[in-house]
Symmetry: C2
Subunit: 179 residues, 2 copies
DNA sequence: GGGAGTTCGTTGCAGGTGCAACTATACCCC
DNA sequence: GGGGTATAGTTGCACCTGCAACGAACTCCC
């Protein structure tokens, strides 16, 4: 504890400031630095674990699951490519190729949009819905355990609110709209 | 809780359950589902924004920055490859190539470890330290604004604790130790 | 109706990533 | 001290990603 507050165990001088060769306090307080590191670590470990389990169980990537889940929830089990790309937070080109792969599996197909000749629907096939439904319980249970299980239920709502605040504050540029 | 608690605005039936064709409540409560989505969104937007700014300002990727930051904070500005890989959460092979790239810039070099012939130190060069120090203030300020600025300072410690709980719960397999 | 400007999706390209296999070194124990 | 096992780092491979450039279709407005 350098002078005032408690410093979480280690009595070390702020390592960022040492690395910078000057006081980093004005740039990034130690609380924020710890929070940032915690976010990176939590996200990294969580997605690594979930992704591995999902892949082992079904040969499906986390990103594939997200796409199938979006389509399974959508009206008529279909979404326009752009809307789907926004929903799963990947670029349009990334989605093009992801849908290519899912189409090879027979899980998704492209349909020309009848009201806009530029658009295509990505449409979940019956087989795709079946695949999603067979995989989802196990995956959702894993999310419940690894994510939900780490936080007391009473604290979850608060955590969600904080995360949504971060998301809202950084709502600016989407992928592709680089500018 | 379908019947008692408040359901966060929308009166819609739980879309996951609709997609699954059965009640998902037993697998993943709606609170956890919202929290999970919030985490994915917050992380995605935050890293995208920070990564873009850092790249524009310095041509350095977020991963490069992490490596330089770890080395800048390390004893004698060097770490063994394995330890560094663990610290920045990438695989050993990923780190090999990342260090290759940083070495081309002259920011990092490999030194044979004198106590273990299998190991190498990744060592920050004076030029690498200089590059880090010239980039860090801007980047750390961006983290402070985009991450720290979204959360009242009083809540940050609590958020950090929750995130660390998630990280701790998922501490099992690291990259490379697949099994 | 026809040109300017915009939006939708795809493709070429240049990375970045992890896993599995490999080499070299270290450790253990008989 | 010599064989079996474990660990450190690198490389081949396959895959995933985003950006920029592109063609096609839509919109607006004269």
């Amino acid at each position: 504890m350098a002078t005032s507050g408690k410093v979480a165990g280690t009595g070390a001088l702020d390592p960022i400031s040492r690395a910078l060769g000057r006081d980093a306090g004005e740039l990034l307080g130690p609380e924020v630095a710890r929070g940032w590191l915690a976010l990176l670590t939590a996200y990294g470990r969580l997605t690594r674990a979930l992704s591995g389990e999902l892949m082992d169980a079904s040969g499906m990537s986390l990103a594939d699951f997200d796409v199938l889940a979006q389509l399974a929830q959508a009206e008529e089990h279909r979404l326009r490519m752009s809307d789907l790309a926004d929903a799963v937070l990947i670029s349009k080109s990334g989605l093009t190729r992801r849908i290519d792969r899912l189409a090879v599996n027979g899980w998704v197909l492209r349909q020309r949009c009848n009201t806009d000749g530029r658009s295509y629907w990505a449409t979940l096939t019956p087989g795709g819905l079946k695949a999603f439904r067979s995989v989802a319980p196990r995956h959702l249970a894993a999310v419940a355990e690894r994510f939900g299980g780490a936080i007391p239920a009473a604290d979850m709502e608060r955590l969600t609110r904080d995360l949504l605040k971060i998301a809202a504050k950084n709502a600016d540029r989407t992928r592709d709209e680089a500018r």
